[in-house]
Amino acid sequence: MSKWDRFKAVPMPKQPPEVRIHNFDEVALGYSEEQAIMEAERCLQCSNPQCIPGCPVGIDIPAFIKLLRKGEFREAIRKIKEKNSLPAICGRVCPQEDQCQKNCLLGRKGDPVQIGRLERFLADWELSHGVEIPEKSPSTGKRVAIIGAGPAGLTAAADLAKLGHEVVVFEALHEPGGVLMYGIPEFRLPKRIVKAEIDYVKKLGVNIKTDTLIGRLYTIPELLKDEGFNAVFIGTGAGPPIFMEIPGENLCGIYSANEFLIRVNLMKSYLFPKWDTPIKVGDRVAVIGAGNVAMDSSRCALRLGAKEVHIVYRRSRAEMPARKEEVENAEEEGVLFDFLTLPVAYHGDEKGWVKKMECIRMQLSEPDESGRRRPIPIKGSNFLMDVDTVIVAIGRRPNPLIQQTTPGLKVAKDGTIIVDENMRTNIEGVYAGGDIVTGEATVISAMGAGRRAAKSIHEYLMNLSR
């Protein structure tokens, strides 16, 4: 093991790229006890810690790190779980570099404390040593319906159940977990981890009803009037994929990233034909976009046997929205990056399969409203790229069904639901949070919204006359 250095993070053991591109097993292997304690030793235990304000769910980070380095793992995970019911998930997929670790004092001179890795270590330790179910408050007799079993809904459900409310989560898909199950690949977030943490939420007394689409089977007014719920939380997340609306986009071989990832992750088509859902990946794959979803898609495509995978992005490296870590992983695995390139049309064969992608070169000009330099097409720079599979990963719109079936619900122009600072919608007893309110964001920000909503719903319920 390397020498301890206050300013250098203990490296995360990983599967080597040449091995991992042939399997769907987890890439990052996690710290050993020794490595975790070594990393925890680096924490300065600041008297005015800057990490806590960076955490959307407000975990007392220095406190859990202090317990960890004393080897008191049980106490340490308990400390995390006071604020976060899904730590094994967050430890893996939170963008810590933009949150808790961003303002770590050590980061000014060297590497910040690897808070996410430590969180993951403790959560994994607990999963293998037995998960503790905390004591719940006595039953309040109040019932809450949660729509969507993704990060926002599960967090709100766990918090409300702990407070003694009866919680039913309605999930449209056959598995709870939302994006954690259908979106994030196995090699980044193993599904057994997601299932274990959902199992914890269930053990808190939360009832999860799958195969139930609210808006069709029951509307929100029906939940409140006929089904006897006192409050509703909407956590329906992001839904329909956005396409570029360019010629040829409906040719065979062109997937939305959502379709591609749902097939691979939720339907396990990487195990086809053992699992029935097929997927088809050709030799030359283009992934449009450069966010985390694009990285996930490109890395899945490699593992499914693609010879060449290109990330095609209209801006440059500096503007990529994906986490640095994910970009590095993709590059290590051999994903190629075509910057300043924008698809303008697809050309297919007589059977309707995509064969060529027509692109135009871009250049960067003045910064736009997002603060990033605006890409502008270079006239006459069109060229053709051979492709047999295209994955469009340029984002998704909010799920529209609840908005369409809830009369009077206030909705913004972009289809997101409008809430106040307490996550209240304009309808009494109806709350919302996560991507359905913010548009596409992160797992942890949705969890933060779930927490805030739970607190607000609790106050509302306790003030209801009996």
Binding site: A172, L173, H174, Y182, T210, D211, T212, L213, R216, L217, G239, P240, P241, F243, E245, E249, N250, C252, G253, Y255, S256, N258, E259, I262, R263, M267, K268, L271, F272, P273, K274, W275, D276, T277, P278, K280, K351, G352, R396, N399, P400, L401
Partner: protein, 279 residues
Amino acid sequence: MYKIVEKRELAPKIKLLKIFAPEISKKAQPGQFVILRVDEVGERFPLTIADWDAHTGTITLIFLEVGVSTRKLGELKEGEAILNILGPLGNPTEVKNYGVVCVVGGGVGIAAAYPVARAFKEAGNRVVSIIGAKTAELLILEKEMMAFSDELYISTDDGSKGYKGFVSDVLKSLIQDGRKFDLVYAVGPTVMMRAVANVTKPHNIKTIVSLNPIMVDGIGMCGTCRVTVGGKTRFVCVDGPEFDAHEVDFEELIKRSMTFLPEEKLALEYWEANKKARG
């Protein structure tokens, strides 16, 4: 789990399942569908709800065994259960009194046409139904369609029953005979719906088709079922399943529905081989 309370074979490879699904049975409307998953490793796939009964809490599904999923579904016995059923999905048929409505059902699509014909009839329309199949023994729901049709025409590809030819040929001759329709509603194989659209378009008869593309989640998340309608990309699962037939790009739909043909064949072979191995 959704228990099968009744199972019948309507024709070779065409089966009817009555399934205990009380919540869906209370909410189902004509034109809507469900997404099923037969077992743990199964695909998600759509089937139109052919009938429902809120009193017994059952829904009825009718399907043709073609691929691995429908074969698995067809193997389930009374008393056994389907792992997942999600529904009702899709926008219901716009049921109102149009006047004279022609309901066209082809093959197993007659199962989807049936609740729509019934609803049109109950809404006061004069219902003229045309149903067809490859051959007489594959024709389903004749009696049921009769019960809610003022007139019923039958065609078979081989002429073994009714007119020899396609349902679209029957429709064409009715129109040529001067019959006036305020609405034509067609459901069946995509090529059949395209043929119906081609028949009605020159006469400017409003025509609705119920599309049945490949779907995965069925709730608007994946875009697998996208189709071009009036030059715009629409998702059949949430924007449909019914669209103006004269606006649908059927060529694209047919090509897209063949995306996974080799894989579907492989999956079926794999399943059959394993079934043999299991005995």
